[in-house]
């Protein structure tokens, strides 16, 4: 039965020492640990959140940069093709121009040649005509030395005129 009766001395010491233990540990012990652990928990949660955000942002940036790269690539292709086109155009234009110019030069030359040729021909003709007139004059002069001859001539001419008139 003595086991079930609390001893006054033990009660006193228990109250005292347990009181001291509670005072020390409940004031300077456990709250410090709990506070620190909870702060750490919060810190980790925040860090995770921030990391997640950074990760998301990085992903965004990645996809954005990919889009930009794609665009740039497209642009590059476009510019290149445009440049090629322009180049071809320029070359062909230049060619055309050159052709035209050459043609023109040729044409001019041809015209000039033609003109010169015609001039030469005309010159020759004129000379031939002059010559033939001279020759004809000489021939006529020799032929018309005699009177009958002259009369013959006049007659024939008149005939000819008549023939042509009739």
């Amino acid at each position: 039965m003595s086991l079930l009766l609390p001893e006054s001395g033990l009660l006193f010491w228990m109250l005292l020492s347990f009181g001291i233990v509670v005072f020390i540990l409940a004031k300077y012990g456990f709250p410090v640990i709990i506070k620190m652990v909870e702060e750490r928990k919060q810190y980790i949660e925040e860090s995770l959140f921030v990391a997640q955000k950074a990760h998301d942002e990085l992903n965004n940036i990645k996809s954005e940069s990919e889009i930009i790269m794609n665009n740039a690539r497209k642009e590059q292709v476009r510019i290149m093709s445009e440049a090629a086109q322009t180049r071809d155009q320029l070359i062909s234009e230049a060619k055309d121009k050159a052709n035209i110019e050459a043609q023109k030069l040729i044409d001019d030359a041809r015209k000039q040649i033609q003109a010169e040729k015609e001039e030469a021909i005309r010159d020759i003709r004129r000379q031939v005509a002059d010559l033939s007139v001279d020759i004809a004059e000489k021939v006529l002069r020799e032929k018309l030395d005699r009177k009958e001859e002259q009369m013959n001539m006049i007659n024939r001419l008149i005939d000819e005129i008549n023939v042509s008139k009739s």
Binding site: S2, E7, L10, L11, V22, L25, F30, I33
Partner: protein
């Protein structure tokens, strides 16, 4: 180390652990016939308090640590001396330890009528000393853990500190928080202290040699104080709704109006809750100590039954002692856990808010 080696070393360890008890018992070895009678007293002697911390007997020589005796006697005033003054049943300053009667084992003095009466006795007894030792140990352990948290960085802790953190946070998050509810923060430090106080005292009680072995949490005075503090917190911090549910509960009128049947039951309930706390812890730890001691006594009880039986019973006793010791290790945790959890539950129940219908 193989499994069998472990088992063997465990058994050897158990032998070593129970050795002081056997040494203690060896002086009664000569009085074989009385052994059986003595078992009960032997166990009661070990689980109850004493004025000196008995370690072992060696060659008929008692080895024990004397503890200070602090006594106030109504007729002779204060006395301070070491309990070694009582050695060999001496009477010191009119005080002596009663050998029988209702004050058996306690310091008494003779009053004018020649009757043994107890003076006011606040001696540092074995249980007190053990409790103070555990308290100091607990404070050292927790404060050394705390020191690691004052660095202010959020580095996770390793080793023992990490283990203690896990332990503390486990009790805090899984026992106190869900049992009390949202405002658990105010009670968490106290309940954690209760948990670790009970736990360390339980563990120290399991160590059979000097710094441990005292039946601290198996003493009703210790559990009484713990239960009273819980009782005070529960009832002082009780909400209006808590008192309303006790004094004017939500039951049919005839249960509370002319004869306050329910209020009386509820009022009794206020006291039975901490009472159950007190008895549960006390009885569990006392029983654990008694079983281990009883099993150890098996060795000495069977001495008179012949060598073969004695040897086999010794083996059985050791194996069972090891088993019970491991169980007690579990009980040490479970009882601290239950005490804390139920205290938290009672506090949580006393903080009820009005039910919204």
């Amino acid at each position: 180390m193989s499994f069998y080696q472990k088992i063997i070393s465990l058994i050897l360890f158990a032998f070593i652990c129970t050795a002081p008890l056997s040494a203690n018992e060896s002086d009664s070895h000569s009085k074989k016939s009385e052994v059986q009678l003595n078992v009960r007293e032997f166990i009661l002697d070990h689980v109850s308090d004493s004025y000196e911390w008995h370690i072992t007997s060696f060659n008929e020589h008692e080895i024990s640590i004397p503890l200070p005796v602090i006594v106030y006697s109504a007729n002779s005033g204060w006395h301070f001396f070491l309990s070694s003054a009582f050695h060999h049943e001496k009477v010191h300053e009119g005080l002596f330890i009663a050998k029988e009667g209702e004050h058996k084992g306690k310091i008494v003095e003779l009053n004018s009528a020649g009757k043994e009466v107890r003076p006011f006795d606040i001696s540092i007894t074995k249980i007190t000393a053990s409790m103070i030792l555990s308290s100091i140990l607990l404070i050292i352990i927790i404060m050394s853990v705390v020191r690691n948290y004052k660095t202010g960085d959020y580095q996770p802790k390793k080793g023992f500190v990490g283990f203690m953190e896990m332990f503390i946070m486990n009790i805090n998050d899984d026992v106190i928080k869900p049992c009390i509810g949202p405002k658990y923060r105010r009670y968490a430090p106290y309940l954690l202290t209760v948990f670790f106080f009970i736990f360390i005292n339980n563990l120290m009680g399991l160590i059979p040699i000097f710094p441990g072995g005292a039946n601290v949490t198996g003493n009703i005075a210790i559990t009484f104080v713990l239960a009273v503090i819980t009782f005070l917190i529960v009832n002082i911090k009780g909400s209006k709704e808590y008192w309303k549910e006790i004094l004017w509960p939500d039951v049919p009128l005839w249960l509370k109006a002319p004869v306050p049947l329910m209020p009386v039951i509820e009022l009794v309930g206020i006291f039975t809750k901490p009472f159950a706390l007190m008895i549960r812890l006390f009885a569990n730890i006392l029983a654990g100590h008694s079983i281990v001691l009883g099993l150890t006594c098996l060795v000495f009880v069977t001495v008179s039954l012949g060598e073969a039986i004695n040897t086999s019973m010794t083996l059985i006793s050791v194996i069972f002692s090891v088993f019970i010791d491991i169980v007690e290790l579990l009980v040490a945790y479970i009882q601290a856990y239950i005490f804390t959890m139920l205290s938290a539950v009672f506090i949580g129940l006393a903080r009820v808010e009005p039910h919204h219908k």
